[in-house]
Symmetry: C2
Subunit: 118 residues, 2 copies
DNA sequence: ACAATAAGGGAAAAATTTATCCCTATGCAA
DNA sequence: TTGCATAGGGATAAATTTTTCCCTTATTGT
């Protein structure tokens, strides 16, 4: 695994939440798991732009941060299911607020973002 | 400026808000500006772990995304002040929710994060 | 037999972000 | 007159994150 060279900041609530949510696909993973898409292959289909590899890595980090649990069924072909922990569930309203703001301002944001591309 | 090679995702609210908030110091910048720390030098003192350079870059991006405005006073030595736009102000409750979650779970998060370092 | 599905890890490359260093300009204070 | 504060840009290096590619295992469908 990659070892950080720049020391962490854990000074305030924003630092702390950043430590567990900062990652390109993490919020989406939590969201979809909450919606009931529990298996890795389902999640990969829900998030086709992410590489399989990163999803695995970020799922493992979410697990290490105790936001989700992983259940491995001893069958072949393999079956795995992720679920939110109670702790992870407390994040859902926060994530919902983020998504809501984005949805509420969809028009405006799209206009701004796209106009900056040219 | 750096030109993206991987196309953007703007499919849902989470993608959209990510587009404007994703950046190591952006949330902190918005927060401190909202608290009344408007000048670049003040912000740099509030966020000493960030390099001066990135703060400038991220401030510019926040401005381009219409979350803050920049006012330049034609004096020497130069004086600049940033303020939240009305649009930017609508993000404050969302950021507050993020920080609140981090604060509410400070103990637990610190324990988890630090235990993963060894 | 062969391809597809399921889950996931290693290695290396590519993409992206952040940090470091140096330079400009002007007025004020010691 | 040397040094600090103020604001900020260019170039380059370093750090970090994400992608790409390949490999393994065992069963089911064609």
């Amino acid at each position: 695994m990659y070892e950080k060279k720049i020391p962490l900041n854990l000074n305030c609530g924003l630092d702390l939440i950043g430590e567990v949510l900062y990652g390109k696909w993490k919020i989406r993973l939590l969201w979809f798991i909450n919606e009931g898409h529990k298996r890795p292959s389902e999640l990969q289909r829900k998030i086709p732009d992410a590489s399989r590899r990163v999803l695995n890595i970020q799922l493992k980090e979410l697990e290490e941060h105790e936001l989700i649990t992983k259940k491995i069924y001893p069958v072949v072909p393999p079956k795995v299911e992720y679920s939110l922990t109670d702790f992870g569930k407390t994040l859902i309203p926060v994530i919902a607020a983020l998504g809501q703001w984005g949805d509420d301002n969809e028009e405006r944001l799209k206009t701004i973002i796209l106009s900056l591309l040219k």
